[in-house]
């Protein structure tokens, strides 16, 4: 198909690359290709890593040759699937904004000249596409944040940010799936677990999902947290 290049990543991986861009159209093609190859259950494929702009397919060259895998990738029908019509999965993520739940919200209001309420309305008023996961188990790279609430990362990153923290770093927003050091500005907390290794499906989202944050009160946060953070 047009605009797709198939590049070798060593002797046991091919990268179907759609270009050095962040775009919803490209990301849809990446997901469509992954779904098409999954549906075909191509023998010898042991891993697929979708990113913003490419699908890496790791294979066993003793089972399927590079040439045969290349042909399968070229033949996969992704144009129709890329439309993703009617299949948009939107996850509503409760979020308790500000105060002790989002220590940097007040500072972000100062930086942006917006009120805390305006920031919350903007942040919770957008559907964010999950472009890819990476960095940590269950860490989502979300696209679509309003530039009015963008802000540079903290000058000195925190040593440990608790799981469930919702933050803004540059033009990106996201949720820390597990405790981790990090430099994002924290604006809220969700009681929902984005990653729980004990769950049958350890990771909440997959690439191609959409997320909408729903503001909740501290009482509601504590109640849902006690119930285990399932949605």
């Amino acid at each position: 198909m047009a605009n797709m290049r198939i590049l070798p990543a060593g002797d046991r991986a091919l990268v179907a690359d759609f270009g050095n861009v962040i775009s919803e159209d490209v990301n849809r093609k990446v997901n469509a290709l992954k779904k098409a190859l999954l549906a075909e259950k191509v023998a010898g494929v042991r891993e697929m890593i979708p990113t913003y702009r490419s699908l890496l397919v790791e294979y066993n060259p003793a089972v399927i040759s590079m040439q045969a895998l290349r042909a399968r990738i070229e033949a996969a029908n992704i144009e129709g699937a890329a439309a993703e019509t009617g299949t948009r999965r939107v996850l509503e993520i409760p979020c308790c904004y500000g105060g002790q739940y989002g220590e940097d919200l007040a500072g972000l209001a100062e930086l942006t000249g917006l009120s805390e309420k305006e920031i919350i309305d903007i942040h919770a008023g957008t559907e964010y596409r999950v472009y890819m996961l990476g960095f940590l188990p269950g860490f989502v790279y979300l696209g679509g944040m309003d530039e009015r609430i963008a802000a540079p990362r903290l000058k000195s990153p925190r040593v440990s940010i608790p799981a469930g923290s919702v933050g803004i770093g540059g033009s990106q927003t996201g949720v820390y799936p597990m405790a981790s050091p990090g430099g994002w500005r924290l604006i809220g907390m969700t009681p929902v677990s984005f990653y729980d290794p004990k769950r049958e499906k350890p990771v909440l989202c997959e690439a191609g999902d959409y997320i909408r944050f729903v503001p909740i009160s501290p009482e509601e946060y504590e109640r849902q947290k006690k119930e285990g953070g399932a949605i």
Binding site: D11, V21, L56, P137, P197
Partner: protein, 298 residues
């Protein structure tokens, strides 16, 4: 069926081939660094199902067999002794209950493997027993072993060792590995690619299971090496803006935002897994087609 850890050494973990089909969720593969030594260890004790082993780093562990077991030590030569008597590498050996197996400093290579017949029995998490230390996942409680840990092992039937002949490897301090260029070699100027394929790089002490950092001449790019994040494999060679390559190893992140000049041939990764800080690496170009042909000749 169990083994008691008396002293763990600086970094001993439970590993298997790694955790696959979860990288799309941001979960790293982890798994053994030296696949060749791992496969040999399992084969020597008749394990055929990708059983979990111990990977020891630089200085080995001291272990007590709480039940009788067949075992084999492979990879780095850590001067293994059973109840104080030296034992051979790359050989199936029987230990009685109560015997102590001790490993010392590696004299060649840096990662030693211990397979026991039946395999180390830790819970299978997302299809694998490998320890992912960054996510505290898999392995023994998601961490490196400590003194006092008791490792269960899986039961194994009566068995007579097959006569498998392995030549215990001696690891070189100057290694040459084959590299398939790409997927982003076009980010580098011709002279940069020439530098990469002709210079000798030294492995920095600042290296671990995630990656080997290299010291040596800088690789020149056209206009920087930042890219929109792209998938990574064990063996990817990324070049950050400073121009010093990083070899990504078993604990690599799933995706990264630096251009990758090439990927080390998987057959050559064991050499890097056993390389020590201060050792040198040279890269030789191989085309993807020639790399594929290596498997077809097998």
């Amino acid at each position: 069926m169990s083994i008691l850890v008396k002293t763990p050494g600086p970094l001993t973990t439970v590993q298997d081939e790694g955790r696959f089909f979860y990288q799309s969720s941001g979960i790293r593969p982890a798994g053994v660094m030296d696949v060749a030594a791992y496969e040999a260890a399992n084969a020597l004790v008749g394990n055929t199902q990708g059983e979990a082993v111990l990977e020891m780093t630089f200085l080995g562990a001291t272990l007590e067999f709480q039940t009788a077991a067949w075992f084999a030590a492979t990879g780095a030569d850590m001067q293994a002794k059973l109840d104080g008597a030296p034992i051979a590498r790359y050989q199936a050996i029987h230990a009685e209950a109560g015997q102590t197996l001790s490993f010392g400093m590696a004299t060649t290579g840096c990662r030693g493997y211990l397979a026991v017949r039946g395999g180390v029995d830790v819970p299978v998490v997302m299809g694998s027993r490998a320890t992912d230390m960054s996510a505290k996942l898999g392995g023994f409680e998601g961490r490196a072993l400590k003194a006092g840990d008791v490792l269960p092992t899986l039961p194994a039937d009566d068995w007579t060792p097959a006569a498998l002949a392995y030549e215990p490897p001696v690891y070189e301090s100057a290694v040459t590995v084959r590299v398939v260029p790409g997927p982003q070699e076009e980010y580098f100027i011709a002279a940069g690619l020439d530098t990469f394929f002709s210079a000798s790089y030294e492995i920095s002490p600042n290296s671990d299971r995630m990656g080997l950092r290299l010291e040596g001449p800088e690789i020149e790019s056209h206009s920087g090496t930042d890219i929109v994040s792209d998938g990574i494999v064990f063996g990817s060679i990324q070049v950050p803006s400073g121009g010093k390559p990083i070899l990504l190893m078993a604990d690599h992140q799933t995706a990264g935002g630096y251009a990758k000049i090439g990927t080390v041939l998987s057959l050559d990764l064991p050499k890097l897994a056993q390389a020590r800080p201060g050792d040198t690496v040279q890269f030789v170009r191989i085309s993807a087609e020639d790399a594929q042909a290596l498997y077809e000749r097998k």
